[in-house]
Amino acid sequence: MKKQSLVLVVIAAIVVIAGIFFITNQNIQKDVSDDQKKIGFIYIGPPGDHGWTYMHDVGRQYLEKELGDSVSTTYIENVPENADAVRSIRKLAESGHDLIFTTSFNYMDQTLEVASEFPDVKFEHATGFKRADNVSTYSARFYEGRTVIGHIAGKMTKTNTIGYIVSFPIPEVIRGINAFYLAASKVNPDVKIKIIWVYSWYDPGKEADAANTLINQGADIIVQHTDSYAPCQAAEKAGVLAFGQASNQEAFCPNAHMTAIEDIWGPYYAAKAQAVVDGTWSSEDTWQGFKDGMVEMSPYNEKLLSSDLIAEAKAIEEGIENGTIHSFEGPIYNQAGELVVKEGEVADDGMLASMMFYVQGIDGEVPQ
């Protein structure tokens, strides 16, 4: 009796496994047509984070819609920023992908490592600065958005204390803090920012703790450079104001969300995929902001902001777009009081790309 049932179980297992293989094989066959280009994406979080990864996924879907049948896309989500990333990137490269987007700063060395093994595959690394013949880098000038929200925060704060939740000490994040502070202190010289590093891009619990800690210490505006909408929610609950991050998060905190800096990746992804289809892809560095539509502001919350302030914010957007305003206009001093950008000049891209110091007026030190 026992033997019989064992045999039955084994047969059933074989049938199920064979069935799975049959179905997946069919899918693979369906996907591979001769001239179709395969585009892969490596995500640091889940596409459902409604923040950073979500916007990359929106970009991926835009790409698919624009290019239609000439491409197919794949993504791997929740890829940690360590040696595991090499495995995931290599998996995409090995499975015949023609173009691979790695969408987080700390995939930098891993992307280059795999790229050197697969010279025929094109790679695009987001927010990094190391390139190779088959590795491009691209990033958005998020700091332009930080200038806008800095202006709003400087005008809106009543306690003159702004809480700023950040992930890792990398140039992109530091640049954001500086741009924000420069704009806020310009309209409100008394403004102080309190910074908490949570050392994670994505941990809703920890992000909420950080927001509550900052609010407890007197912050009445919460700014974040992490990926979940937990800080905005915490602000809503505590009755203070906040800015969304990476995507429009107003639905989660309607009474706190003043605006958000949105990342618009779709057109860039579509253009680069098209270049691969046409065979015109080349390694380059792309860094675009308001002007090219890679960064946008979410609709300003009219319940919270006066129409004058909204007009001012829009004027800053426009100014940055047509070049009359720059987020880093001299004179800018570092914390030691040294002049880093002279009066009448603006910080060049080289300085911005490697910015690892706080400007004068920010308390605390950049973690090393």
């Binding site: 994505y202 900052l214 929610q233």
Partner: protein, 289 residues
């Protein structure tokens, strides 16, 4: 520091530590009966997503809590069947449960990620967590059933010889642990950070597991350990926000340094450590042996 500031800090510590207490106290009871369940993280995530989905669909907190608990009963029931009846390796099965839970919760929650909900007041759960620690402490040391659980964990063959049902006892403790983990998950997705996002428990299941060893299987020490862990994490955030000039690595290290110090302190007394660790932990029980 003003009084309001201190009360505020304590408040945040209470809110952020409670899931560790829930998951830890459940695992403590499971381990006391001699079973090591490494599946806490998976159980928490499934509990979190089940509660969240039910709340979105029905808008009823009671149903969502109920189904979240049921998810814990089912998943830990499967775990119990595998390790008790089929006598699979507890460590491998527990890890499988975690991986399964991560995948299952991500799949179930895909459509619901980013749906706004109204969170539940965390204070009910905070009060319950303290009561639970007290009740579990009382149960394990002062009641007959509690002593049976410990007997089963210390020596399952003797417990069997005395006429106790080892398998049944372990089923019950595993399911208790599973339900507690689900509650921890439910608390995270409904009270702590009211949302569902994949992997949102962010490793708290593993911290809870470490806390059980840290507490040398004593409920009140688990409570203390959990609050040391939670308190240090929140303290370092406060120091950062105040602008204390310490290197970033130091902030990162603090919870682990605290763990190390307590572990060294606890393990300095080897007899005590040996006395409180269940001897039959992670040893499969064969009824006919």
């Amino acid at each position: 520091m003003s009084i309001e500031l201190i009360i505020g800090i304590l408040n945040i510590v209470l809110i952020s530590t409670t899931p560790l207490v829930f998951a830890g106290i459940g695992e403590l009871v499971t381990e006391k009966s001699g079973v090591l369940n490494l599946g806490l993280e998976g159980l928490m995530l499934v509990g979190a997503v089940t509660g969240f989905i039910t709340l979105v669909l029905t808008g009823n907190y009671f149903y969502s809590l109920f189904l979240s608990i049921i998810s814990g009963v089912i998943l830990s029931g499967i775990f119990a069947f595998l390790v008790l009846n089929l006598m699979t390796n507890q460590i491998a099965t527990g890890l499988a449960l975690t991986i399964f839970g991560i995948g299952l919760s991500a799949m179930l929650g895909k459509k619901f990620a980013g749906t706004p909900i109204d969170g539940l007041n965390p204070y009910y759960f905070i009060v319950i967590s303290f009561l639970l620690v007290f009740l579990v402490g009382y149960f394990l040391s002062k009641t007959k059933s509690g002593l049976i659980v410990r007997a089963v964990g210390e020596n399952h063959n003797s417990a069997y010889a005395l006429g106790y049902n080892v398998i049944k006892t372990r089923y019950l403790t595993i399911i208790f642990g599973g339900v507690m983990s689900s509650l921890a998950g439910y608390y995270i997705s409904i009270c702590y950070a009211p949302m569902w996002q994949e992997g949102m428990t962010a490793g708290r299941g593993w911290i809870a597991l470490a806390l059980v060893v840290f507490a040398t299987w004593k409920p009140w020490r688990l409570l203390v350990g959990a609050y040391i862990f939670g308190g240090v994490a929140i303290m370092q955030m406060n120091l950062q926000a105040i602008g204390v000039k310490l290197p970033g690595q130091f902030f990162n290290m603090m919870p682990y340094i605290a763990t190390l110090i307590v572990l060294v302190f606890i393990s300095s007394n080897k007899v005590r450590l040996k006395l409180s660790a269940p001897s039959c932990l992670n040893i499969p029980y064969e009824k006919n042996s």
